[in-house]
């Protein structure tokens, strides 16, 4: 009998809590992948970061349509020998939501990809350089909004010897 109860309890523990697990304390955006990037000294390359927004939620694009909205931004802090040239954000999807049916909003939903152009300075030694960063976003669902969050992330950039340079520019 006791074993049966324990088994039942264990089964219940295995129940999925779904995508909205522990609402209010979870991330609404997950980092799916970071494309590998290797550069030669003095060369630049592009790194792609793929994100997935939890189904049922959306986040503002990088260029929301109202000043009061918080844009999605990627902040990267490269080490001294790597410089950041440009971050490119996709255009937002123009959508209306039940809470504001007359207002088109510029949002990301589902999966989206950001790209960052990075440059290895001429004197950099070969090796792997870690760039720390964070994606700042503010999520809503169809009836409520949630406080801004930051998703920490890392990008590893491999710098090769000049003789082993690949086709990255």
């Amino acid at each position: 009998m006791k074993t049966g109860w324990i088994a039942l309890a264990c089964l219940l523990l295995l129940l999925p809590v779904s995508a909205q697990e522990s609402l209010g304390t979870k991330d609404y955006v997950k980092l799916l992948s970071v494309s590998p990037v290797s550069l030669g000294s003095g060369k630049s390359g592009t790194v792609s970061l793929s994100f997935r927004i939890v189904p049922g939620f959306h986040i503002n694009s990088n260029k929301p349509k109202a000043e009061y909205l918080i844009p999605t931004t990627l902040k990267l802090s490269p080490p001294t020998d790597i410089s950041l040239a440009k971050i490119t954000y996709p255009a937002g999807q123009e959508e209306t939501f039940p809470f504001a049916p007359d207002e088109k909003m510029s949002v990301y939903a589902g999966d989206f990809v950001l790209t960052a152009k990075v440059l290895a300075i001429g004197s950099v030694h070969p090796g792997t350089y870690r760039v720390h960063g964070e994606l700042r976003y503010q999520a809503c669902d169809k009836s409520a909004c949630y406080p801004p969050r930051s998703l920490p992330l890392n990008i590893d950039i491999r710098v090769q010897r000049a003789a082993h340079r690949r086709g990255y520019r």
């Binding site: 109860w5 309890a9 264990c10 219940l12 779904s18 995508a19 209010g24 909003m105 809503c140 409520a144």
Partner: protein, 188 residues
């Protein structure tokens, strides 16, 4: 003992699962604060003064947690303004609690632009925690004249729903004042 602990934990997981499923279906989640005494607090208003919830005892209070970056909150605001005009003379006081780290000036400018006619208080999360760790905005509590939370709404509610909740809080206040002589005496 271990079995009890495991069962309690399992029960909490089941409740969490059901809540998450209901939210996915867009259903309203009964707020655990309903039926409880509204926690008291004192917060700074936009004009720099302090407002204590207990000072409003005797009024029906609509406590609306919001933020400047929250579009559903912005959509609700004109309705709240209208309802403050409509019910103010009947002892209803709407109170906005800004859960916003954008700064007092920005919040004040937003409230001015929206022509808000009720006090806006500045919270740094402490009051939101007292009211059940609120994170989804807007969240609104309807408090009867004797300080009881009689209704709440998580996420945007339609104007008719807000109106109905106010009337419910007004009704609850009247009933409780009639039966709770000691409470109404205290107020006089």
């Amino acid at each position: 003992m271990v079995l009890v602990a495991v069962l309690l934990f399992a029960a909490s997981r089941v409740a969490q699962y059901r809540t998450a499923r209901a939210q996915e279906r867009g259903e309203a989640i009964p707020n655990a604060m309903n039926g409880k005494q509204a926690p008291d607090f004192a917060l700074e208003t936009l004009d720099g003064s302090k407002l204590k919830l207990a000072d409003l005892r005797g009024k029906v209070i609509v406590l609306n947690f919001w933020a400047t970056w929250c579009t559903p909150c912005k959509v609700e605001m004109p309705w709240l303004i209208d309802l403050q005009k409509q019910y103010g003379s009947r002892g209803v006081q709407i109170v906005g609690i800004a859960e916003d780290d954008s700064g007092k000036e920005k919040i004040a400018a937003f409230a001015r632009e929206m022509q808000v006619n009720y006090p806006i208080l500045l919270d740094e999360g402490d009051v939101a925690d007292k009211y059940g760790n609120i994170e989804n905005l807007p969240t609104t509590f309807y408090i009867s004249r004797n300080g009881m939370i009689v209704e709440s709404a998580s996420g945007i509610a339609g104007k008719p729903d807000i109106d109905a909740a106010i009337q419910k809080a007004l009704g609850a206040g009247v009933g409780e004042v009639k039966t709770a002589g000691a409470v109404s005496k205290e107020r006089q």
